[in-house]
Subunit: 439 residues, 2 copies
Amino acid sequence: MSDNRDIPSKVIKNDPWFGSYADRAEAMRASEIRALFAVASRPEVVSLAGGMPYLDRMPFDELAPLLAKMLKDKGDVAWQYGSAQGDPHLREDVLQIMELENITDAQPDDVVIVNGSQSGLDLITRIMCNPGDSILAEAPNYVGALGVFQSFQVQVVNVLLDENGLIPEAFEQAIIEQRALGHPVKFLYTVPNFHNPAGATMSIERRPKVLEIARKYHVLIVEDNPYGLLSFEGKTYPALRSMDSENVVYLSSFSKIIAPGMRVAWMVAPPGIRHKLVLANESAILCPSNMSQMTITTYLDNFDWKAQINDYRGMYKERCDTMDAALKKYLPYCSWHKPKGGFYIWLKIPEGLDSRAMLPRAITAKVAYVAGTAFYDNGEGTDHMRLSFCYPTPTRITEGIRRLSTVIDADRETAELFGTTGKPDPDPRDVEYPGPAAH
Amino acid sequence: MSDNRDIPSKVIKNDPWFGSYADRAEAMRASEIRALFAVASRPEVVSLAGGMPYLDRMPFDELAPLLAKMLKDKGDVAWQYGSAQGDPHLREDVLQIMELENITDAQPDDVVIVNGSQSGLDLITRIMCNPGDSILAEAPNYVGALGVFQSFQVQVVNVLLDENGLIPEAFEQAIIEQRALGHPVKFLYTVPNFHNPAGATMSIERRPKVLEIARKYHVLIVEDNPYGLLSFEGKTYPALRSMDSENVVYLSSFSKIIAPGMRVAWMVAPPGIRHKLVLANESAILCPSNMSQMTITTYLDNFDWKAQINDYRGMYKERCDTMDAALKKYLPYCSWHKPKGGFYIWLKIPEGLDSRAMLPRAITAKVAYVAGTAFYDNGEGTDHMRLSFCYPTPTRITEGIRRLSTVIDADRETAELFGTTGKPDPDPRDVEYPGPAAH
């Protein structure tokens, strides 16, 4: 595998185009997650870092001949340019998926197919935000969204979140404060279900309150919902979009419920915004891949995808239970809320420890996680780490937590003796690494 | 097929979010090409409008089982997240393709896989250009690039082009003028081979001159080269990138030489720029689709792709010859340069006629083209139209030109009698249409 680490950073520092870049390029840095990948993907390391779904249970053997048939029958369509809004067949299909979250009034014309949720976040920020505009977002924040907001030079205003999700009063307060400062608030970005990284879920009671505040202040809500169907309770929460079609742009993805390799996600937006999203999609990528979209529809049309999602739910629940039990056994002095679905536990480590500084020691102990600092743009988060239970098997999860406990135990002892655990390493994002960009 | 035309435009005009959008969203409009699609794609209409490659000769039957095998053997990789820089295997493969254009010094690490050329243009503009910055570009200009430049609020400065491509003296003059005005010139955007829409090719003699000027003024060149291998003369032109690795960002695509449905293109850039392109790619789309990339590598690894490209060249040459002969027969009073490759003839119509105003009459006569105005952002181009010969069969091309001649003949008579051909229709971009976005 080819690897950028061979390019010494001074080559890039002697860049003859230094000084020629756009202002927005200065704000672009590799996410801490990607920076971690090269080490975290070594087989001897238990990676609790990435957000890669576990695909071993996908029916590739049964799907293969169906995909071959699709190519034989419709290769001239699958390999041709498509519509900028997305394949009409797929736009019909996603309506069925959204029905599971109570979205029953959407039409295929309300849907825009996008090149993964990342592109959806890029497009909505692109059409809504001038440099310097504010958006509100739960803190900690999804790292991929932070990257988009930074690249569009948007001010991210953190809104408090607890185990019941976004706190409505904090949301209202943040709007009032931003308006008082004269900052246009373009939208609230929220991950209401099984938040990445916080694991929190917005309670049923809070949802109408959040919508009411949004309407009161005419603030758009961007509802990012890749995990909504991966509940461990058998209960699926109603989407914010199911309660309000005028003030919510809904974004979901096949990446976690089927697979991320096709880069297919979708948005549902009110007509004016939807119109601009299609134009922005055309400007950004011309059109989504027909081949990718028809791979997804081939899967949806021929398999019991609801049963598959249910199987995933069971698998991820088992892994979450395993991690929760291992944390209770090995790290009882840390604190966390057990999530009701999704991929992540947001672990608070003891006072005085620094999750980013600790990371090289964890890698040495053959376990990887993402330091909490990745999920803030202001240096906060040293007291947390994100542990993902989606990809490693239960046995590996337990072993990973055991290894992590040796590192945290040692750092805790050092901190008790010296009041500090030593200097943090250089920002891992200053080094380039290749590798899967699962966030 | 679902269709946006059912949404009355007043719904969008009563948009409750009107006034909330970013400034850049105001500049986003559907390209005239996409606006045309809904009518141009009716089977009774001979479409000389789109840039869709002709895929009937692709070996789908032979490819289908190989794709099935790929999914069985490597589904867990194909369906997983990938690297933000792109699949290392594919980055190796594109080196072989670029060797055909004399690029022999590129390494896999210099390559970034992007989601189609459109995304490549988006990324380079994103990292280089602040709002108000200037870029230089051949006029007429590729419509997809114009859309990107507009969406980043970039000033597009037109540089003259003749049948031997960009005029070096005009390039230098434009740099001097922009600098005198205090406008930062971020790059020259050029399509050196078989230009879309002009059909022109930069002569061998001009290439080093253009590079010399770029170096003299430290102006980056963005070389967009989707058609370079589709020469009708058996001769492939050396890429600008083959003569200068420091000042050229090279962009090419599989869309025209294999197929566009995977949305796979690639860029080669000097290290500093390449580093930022990877970060921008991650921010825009997280990572290119593994499934798409592995579909391409499955094709490249198992078929004689050089023979396939050669077959395409012969097919497109025949279609170009057919169109040229039909133009000589039916429209001898128009003028054009027969292109040496690619997909397009840029037709100059008689003085006083307006290609955009004429379009509804052409559609009535069951032939479609793209009005020259699509390729300028300043209203120029009414005296030209782009005729594409890539997709219709030779018989249909001849019939299409015959139909077109009846429309031009009639408009010419009207113009001779009344001095005008009547009022132009509303801008077709003010109406929404769905459909393939082939530019």
